[in-house]
Amino acid sequence: MTFRAQGMRAWLVQRLSAVYLAVFLIAVVIWYFSTGEYSYDQWRHLVGHPLVNVALALCFIALLVHAWVGMRDVLVDYVPAMGLRFFILIGIAATLVAMGVWTALLLMSVFSP
């Protein structure tokens, strides 16, 4: 079987992103409650660490991809009219891409002085 296969790829991507989100969010919650209060500068310093920055970026990529597959699934189920489905999909894609770009800008902003 080839990897371009649509149903399988979407399903696998959704499962893998879910696993990453679950592990990452549990780790974040444990870390949050096991440390003291953070000032703004400390937060900035933490997010500026390359590992934390990449892990956060992966978290948001997983979240956006997971949302895309989920929303696409809902539309395939409930919006049978192809034209309308396509129109809504474009809207969702644009929103998710905008969120992704905004997140990328935020994550990169910690590296500028």
């Binding site: 079987m1 296969a5 649509q6 149903g7 399988m8 399903w11 696998l12 395939v76 189920d77 409930y78």
Partner: protein, 231 residues
Amino acid sequence: MRFRIYRYQPEVDNKPRMQEYVLEEIQPGMMLRDALLKLREQDETLVFRHSCGEGVCGSDAMNINGQNGLACLTPLSNLKEPVEVRPLPGIPVVRDLVVDMSQFFYHYRAVKPYLKVHDPEPEVEFLQSPQQREKLDGLYECILCGCCTTACPSFWWNPDKFRGPAALLQAYRFLADSRDQATTERLEDLEGPYRMFRCHTIMNCVNVCPKGLNPTAAINNIKKLMVKDMI
């Protein structure tokens, strides 16, 4: 005992209606099918399918108090009054409780529910070890009554494209069979966003199966086979 039964004759009626019936002589151990047969003595125009009366033929699948099941396996003592009996949901009604199963069997045929062998056939029988045979347990018992597929919301939304739990259970029944040699072919046929991947593990199918089978597990096993095949 009081009953409310769905009545509809598309050639004559504008829209379906629910008709009230009362059955006085309820015997202990009576099943819904027995009650329907008695009610048909009262009203000969009531139409429903039935045959073996013991959950083998799968003819008398219907929606009983909101849940799909076989009338012949549903004891009256378990039912709340008035007992609401409707045809299986999501497929066209031919008359009263009789539904058109064409779509259901279209999907069943589409999964090619028979052994496919590419090697020359053996001169005697196909041999199978007890362990290999065991893998078919929980799969071959399906009687194709349609309770699961017509209870599945994914089938309601995409009845023409989603194979449905019954057909997918049969697809896995042949994927799991040691004698079948069409694994890749079968898996490729189930690819794409509709045929199998409309399943969102809602598990209504498992809930209603009168034979206690688990189509959701079968679908998950097909997905595992696909991942294996891909790697």
